[in-house]
Amino acid sequence: MAELSALGSAPPRRRSVRSGQDRLPLGRTSGTGLGLAVLWLSLLVLVPLAAVVSKAAGAGLADFWSAVTTHEALSAIRLTVLAAAAVSLVNAVMGTLIAWVLVRDEFVGKRVLEVLIDLPFALPTIVAGLVLTTLYGPHSPVGVTWYASRPGVLVALLFVTLPFVVRTVEPVLLSLETEAEQAAASLGAGPVRTFVRIVLPAIAPAIASGASLAFGRAMGEYGSVVLISGQLPRTEVASQYIYQQIESGYLPDAAAVATVLLLVSVLVLALLNGLRGWAARRG
């Protein structure tokens, strides 16, 4: 010990001591709460995810790399990430619009629309996929054929992610005072400028929340896509690819692609979270 401290390890030690003092002391209640939260998260989320990652890593880095860089794997990952990004963007715009209409406008059938919004959550996704396939499939009654095409995948993802932004933005819009908008109007701002400069900053964190939920859901969606995608390599999303690999007994390959999905999700969610924090700090 004497040797160690003589070797000039004093500064880092002092820092670690200070950081220990800086930490807020947790009371018994919040300490218990934190403990329970961590335990719960570990059991439900961290342990399974760690298992996936360790499975992927078990085969070694070279195998991991070759597993995720096959043509099919890459195409599936690319389609999934791009589709999820597109879905979040479309949702951010349309979800905000729908929330606005629901909160600010009075019209006949408002309550019906309120219920309709949540329907995609309630419907089993495989049923949604079936309905979409009959609607836009080979014998489409509406004359639109999106079967086994990328628009078909996109529509399926949009369907299941519709409620997220609507439901995160709605309560924020409800609690927003309209007086600030009236003040902006009396100061000479038109409706568009009032929305962009007064309303949008207030609801931006909620939009980011909803969009990241939609992104996460779209990244992992399986049920609604599996039928309409037609199982073609060109329209295969990552979850389908993973399922196929498992069926064929290539477990490490499946885990490798899953790990890549995980990494992308973590990155994007962290980014959106940062964006939300930044917007909240400004607001």
Binding site: A180, A183, G188, R193
Partner: protein, 354 residues
């Protein structure tokens, strides 16, 4: 010039908020719209500001037809009861908002905002966020923001309604002084008659969607057009079938022409003032009743003993309240049970009770 609101009618569903109201506000004046809540005064202000549309009628601001023109092109400054601060913008950016919308050069915006922040005494708070300000400061910021665009008229909707009594009083004085400096035509809505009497050049009393009376504070206080205006602007009591202000009643110790005999029922000291409740002896029975009550109620606080007796025959005949200074009450040697004579003072405003 100034503001003209002509034949304004506004309904909210079945509720008639404004019933064919016509209001003219002189240029450069500070006018108060006064009345009970739900009387229509805020609606009228919002119609003038373009935040609400009238069902019928016209609004003319500074000689320019404003009917149908949206708020953003009316050139009015509007101040709301709950500040309506732009929460995500600093105090500086709040005040600069209207100027930025008008695309004024940056240097001009900077100069103007500094000027205004000085005017409202917030120069050292320019970089704060609205959430870091007190209510009074937020409302001053809102005023600076409204004044920044040099509006033709300034409209304030219960501007001090959300503030505590002390800050309200300060801001009231401050608004008066500000108006003397800036001289923009100003209309403010309030339900506080003291605020209106103290600040405004002219008062408009509004009730049930109609204008009851328009005039200077003194005119309205001294010559109310009806019992509503009289009652809304200050305390009122009844004296022999008339409505009189409690401080406008003379108390005499001997009978005199036109005086009403009465006996003291209750004496309450409020600081330097004494409020006396008296009952005119309409029926001879009252004299009997007053006797025992007076005997027991000599000590302060025992006045309630007289109450049961008062609840007897003609309880419907309302008591007369009289406001006296302590000196006056002492000079008259008023006690519970004392017999006195009451008459309206010489210049008192007197209305026949309905």
């Amino acid at each position: 010039m100034g503001i003209q609101a002509l034949d304004i009618t506004k309904r909210f569903g079945a509720f008639l908020a404004l019933d064919d109201v016509t209001l003219e506000v002189g240029s450069g004046e500070l006018t108060a719209l006064l009345g009970p809540s739900g009387g229509g005064k805020s609606t009228l202000l919002r119609i003038i500001g373009g935040l609400e549309e009238a069902d019928s009628g016209r609004v003319v601001i500074d000689g320019v037809e404003a009917t149908g023109i949206p708020a953003q092109r009316r050139d009015v400054g509007f101040v709301f009861q709950h500040y309506a601060a732009f929460k995500h913008l600093s105090v500086y950016r709040n005040v600069a908002f209207g100027l930025e919308i008008r695309k004024r050069p940056k240097a001009e915006i900077q100069r103007r905002v500094r000027e205004l922040l000085e005017l409202v005494h917030l120069e050292q708070f320019a970089d704060r966020m609205p959430a870091q300000l007190s209510g009074g400061q937020r409302q001053r910021m809102a005023l600076a923001r409204a004044l920044a665009v040099e509006p033709k008229v300034l409209l304030l909707d219960e501007p001090f309604g959300a503030l505590d009594a002390k800050v309200r009083k300060e801001l009231r004085d401050w608004l008066r002084r500000l108006h003397d400096e800036v001289h923009v035509t100003t209309v403010f809505v309030t339900h506080d008659q003291e605020e209106a009497l103290e600040v405004a050049d002219s008062l408009v009393v509004i009730n049930h969607g109609r204008i009851e009376q328009v005039g200077s504070p003194n005119e309205l206080y001294d010559h109310p057009a009806n019992d509503f205006v009289m009652g809304f602007l200050g305390p009122v009591t009844r004296l022999g079938g008339h409505l009189v202000r409690p401080h406008d009643i003379e108390v005499l110790t001997a009978d005199s022409a036109g005086a009403v005999p009465a006996s003291v029922q209750r004496l309450v000291r409020v600081g330097y003032q004494v409020r006396a409740e008296l009952r005119a002896d309409a029926a001879p029975a009252t004299a009997q009743v007053a006797g025992p009550g007076g005997g027991q109620a000599g000590a302060p606080g025992a006045a309630s003993v007289g109450r049961p007796a008062g609840a007897e025959p003609d309880a419907a005949a309302a008591d007369t309240a009289v406001q006296l200074t302590r000196g006056q009450a002492d000079a008259l040697e008023l006690r519970v049970g004392s017999r006195v004579w009451l008459r309206p003072a010489q210049h008192a405003s007197v209305l026949t009770a309905r």
